[in-house]
């Protein structure tokens, strides 16, 4: 079992959600986040004053999946979230030791 996490641009959330649902995921968690990558934010000029923004608004999406689905899942997210411009974000997967469904107590892959 794996946890796939994607940090994406906020306006891409609808596209990523639709793509994941079409792919067949059964659930996800979405959180508002802020962050930066190699671009390290950017400089803004407003009303004559310059200032640095380093944390930019993002959205974090998390999905649990079976091991064999990871690569496909990441591909789906990539395709939906990409704009080709700086700030598109990152996707990564980490192994998960155990998963339990709260309502029924089911464990393991049945709980995904």
């Amino acid at each position: 079992m794996k946890l796939v996490t994607a940090v994406i641009k906020p306006f891409k959330l609808d596209d990523v959600k639709a793509a994941l649902q079409a792919f067949g995921v059964h659930g996800m968690t979405v959180v508002e986040a802020s962050g930066y990558g190699r671009q390290r934010g950017h400089t803004e000029v407003y009303r004559g004053a310059e200032y640095q923004i380093d944390l930019v608004p993002k959205v974090r999406v998390e999905v649990l999946c079976d091991d064999e689905d990871v690569d496909d899942l990441i591909g789906v997210i990539l395709k939906a979230a990409q704009t080709g411009r700086i700030g598109d974000g990152k996707v990564w997967a980490v192994p998960v030791d155990s998963v339990v469904r709260v309502r029924t107590g089911e464990r393991g892959p049945d709980a995904i």
């Binding site: 641009k9 306006f11 802020s34």
Partner: protein, 717 residues
């Protein structure tokens, strides 16, 4: 069973004493005795059959002195005894208890009522407000049943009157809903959960859950308003025993006076001939941060309806009321309880107490609008037209009273109301557009790619100009904050700011308005060369050969005569300086025109010390209760080639103009022209200044010093 046994009585207390037994209630009883033998067995003979029947019993066995002692130590017991009722046995014993309990309650009123207030605040903190919750606790929430009991307890202490007909009707509504809820659920829970709304509504003879929530919201608000009033009376009664000084009366506005911490009408005020009095009193109360006294509200009900469109001072008073921020909410609630809001704005009726089914929303629609206006008051410094922002915030969701997309219907209603309130067609159009597009910025900012120029262009096209853009920006923040914590946070605010910046870069701005052109007669006066001062009605014209400080010195003279400057225009005709002021007396009768004119002439001749006069007045100034946003001073360069524009936005105060003018003069700046406007309680001043050599201010230190000097003058008020 007790028959005519002397020395024993069965007494019902609490809810049972009130004769309000609900399906899930306990039987709350007290077995009173006069210290007789064998009382325990008598008690058992009563309790056991009750227990066996399955009813729940909350019981105690006490003598009258014991019962009184327990009540003195525990306020909840004391409250229960206030509603005690004789059930069986020796009635004289019950009477002894009742009278004793009431005596103790009145004797300890100061501490008991303070305790009662703490209990109320604690309940409000834990259970929230009945009127605004989707699943309120009908008993414990603020505005619920316990609050009515609190009013009765305060009345029992002879400090306030017993609940009036409106509160009693509200109580019956809530009690009925609670009763039905217990019957339907078969449990003693007082929380009106979502699943039960429709069934409870039908059993109560209402159409659906929404209608039920609407009625309960109205009832909850009536109770909350009444309990606040009762607690204020309790506080005042407690305070009066400590401080034995004469009642202070302090004038706030024409016909409006502050007395003993409340706002009342002056003795000479005549509501029947003064339709603007409602708004003027409300604005004065909100700005002073004080509540309107019920007797003032009763008198205000005699005001005739305002002519449509409203006269300018009514419009100003509304803007001033809204500009007071959160202090306006209590005042608005008071007006609403008396039905005065719907009398002023008939369209309000459709959103009164209207529930929002969306869990994001904390408030009913009408309260949400008032809260939005309150948050907008803190943002008035960021827009060129604070009056339009406040009105747009108040009206933006009025469309929710109509079917369909509330933004679309809202545009129509907002335009109508803005015109009714007396705004020009152009201004009403801005307010209407703000209502139409109030969701545009947050929606686009979170759902579209801001880097895509097409997104920015589309918004720019919809918005059309910077004035609407800045209105929408402030409105988005106010709307979000008034919705609830889930709807607005720094994350969203950041995205919206980003969008606004990008759109602003694409849109042209309007330069700050310069001085208005002079009329024929004013020009003629100017050409004579002066010095001269002419007063016609509410307009004061001052002319003088070029003399530094004409504007602020004249403003100072006016301020020393209790004249508030609502608008001013200063400009040059050749080498002659001309300043035209629109003034209004602060309160009461206007000062003697001849006196003001002669003072102005003396000032022009240099024979009057304005500052000294004003210092004396400043010492007698009235305190301001409402919290206001800090003043804002900005230097704008792109507006003119020959001068720098100094924009000042601040809360209007007596003497504001002369202080700012003096600060500018003190920086060695040359005033080319000025335009001053007071919108509600907000002063929007635009000064065109140049340095001593007649050029715009480019030196950074000088610019900084100017801003600091003006801010310093404003914050020392």
């Amino acid at each position: 069973m007790l028959g005519a046994e002397p020395g024993v009585a069965l007494v019902a207390v609490g809810g049972y004493g009130r004769r309000e037994l609900l399906p899930g209630s306990d039987l709350d009883v007290l077995l009173l005795h006069a210290g007789r033998e064998g009382i325990a067995s008598i008690a058992d003979r009563i309790w056991y059959p009750v227990w066996d029947s399955g009813a729940r019993l909350d019981h105690a066995v006490r003598t009258v002195p014991q019962a009184r002692r327990v009540a003195r130590a525990d306020i909840k017991v004391a409250l229960g005894l206030l509603t005690s009722r004789h059930v069986a046995g020796d009635p004289t014993l019950t009477t002894q208890l009742r009278e004793g309990a009431l005596e103790d309650w009145r004797a300890g009123a100061r501490t008991r009522l303070a305790e009662l207030r703490d209990l109320h605040n604690e309940r409000a903190r834990i259970f929230g407000e009945l009127a605004f919750l989707l699943e309120p606790d009908l008993k414990e929430a603020r505005g619920g049943l316990r609050d009515v009991h609190a009013i009765q307890a305060i009345a029992a202490a002879w400090v306030a009157s017993a609940p009036g007909p409106r509160v009693r009707a509200a109580y019956e509504s809530i009690l009925d809903a609670r009763h039905i809820l217990h019957e339907i659920t078969g449990r003693a829970s007082d929380r009106l959960v979502l699943e039960e709304h429709d069934e409870v509504a039908r059993a109560a003879g209402l159409l659906d859950g929404d209608a039920l929530l609407r009625e309960l919201a109205g009832a909850g608000r009536t109770v909350a308003y009444a309990v606040d009033h009762a607690f204020r009376q309790a506080e005042r009664a407690a305070g009066r025993r400590l401080r034995r000084r004469k009642l202070e009366r302090r004038p706030l506005a024409d016909g409006v006076v502050e007395q003993d911490g409340e706002v009342v009408l002056a003795r000479a005020a005549d509501p029947v001939s003064d339709p603007v009095l409602i708004l003027r009193a409300a604005a004065a109360a909100a700005q002073a941060g004080r509540p309107l006294a019920p007797r003032a509200l009763a008198r205000l009900a005699d005001c005739p309806p305002l002519p449509v469109p409203w006269p300018p001072d009514a419009r100003d008073a509304l803007v001033s009321l809204l500009g007071a921020g959160h202090a306006a909410i209590g005042v608005w609630e008071a007006l609403d309880q008396e039905g005065l809001v719907t009398a002023l704005i008939p369209d309000w009726e459709r959103v009164r107490n209207r529930p929002q089914r969306n869990p994001l929303h904390t408030f009913t629609v009408d309260r949400h609008l008032v809260e939005a206006a309150a948050y907008a008051a803190a943002l008035t410094r960021d827009v060129a037209r604070p009056d339009l922002l406040l009105l747009a915030a108040l009206l933006h969701d009025l469309g929710k009273g109509w079917p369909g997309d509330h933004s679309v219907s809202g545009e129509v209603v907002a335009r109508d109301v803005a015109r009714r309130v007396g705004f020009s067609d152009a201004d009403a159009e801005l307010v209407a557009q703000a209502a139409r597009h109030h969701l545009l910025l947050p929606m686009i900012a979170t759902r579209r790619d801001l880097d895509d120029p097409v997104t920015v262009e589309q918004v720019a096209r919809t918005v059309g100009g910077r004035s609407l853009l800045e209105l929408l920006h402030a409105l988005a923040a106010a709307d979000g904050m008034a919705t609830g914590p889930a709807a607005w946070n720094d994350w969203k605010a950041g995205l919206v700011s980003d969008l606004v910046k990008r759109v602003a870069a694409v849109l042209a701005g309007d330069p700050p308005a310069g001085a208005r052109p002079l009329r024929e007669d004013q020009l003629a006066l100017a050409n004579e060369g002066g010095p001269a001062a002419v007063i016609k009605g509410d307009e004061v014209t001052v002319v003088s050969p070029d003399r530094p400080g004409l504007l602020w010195r004249a403003a100072g003279v006016l301020a020393s005569h209790r004249l508030t400057v609502r608008g001013a225009n200063a400009t040059f005709v050749g080498r002659t300086a001309v300043a035209v002021f629109n003034v209004v007396p602060e309160y009461g009768d206007p000062p003697d025109t001849a006196l003001v004119a002669s003072d102005l002439r003396r000032m022009l001749e240099g024979r009057l010390d304005v500052e000294e006069r004003l210092e004396r007045r400043a010492r007698a100034a009235r305190p301001r209760g409402a919290m206001v946003a800090p003043p804002k001073v900005t230097l704008v360069d792109d507006a003119s080639l020959t001068a720098t524009v100094v924009e000042v936005r601040a809360h209007d105060e007596p003497g504001l103009l002369w202080r700012v003018g003096r600060a500018l003069g003190g920086c060695g700046l040359d005033l080319r022209s000025a335009r001053v406007e007071t919108l509600g309680a907000e002063a929007v001043d635009v000064f065109y200044v140049a340095d001593e050599s007649g050029k715009p201010l480019t030196d950074k230190t000088m610019r900084k010093a100017t801003v600091e000097a003006v801010l310093g003058a404003l914050t020392s008020l």
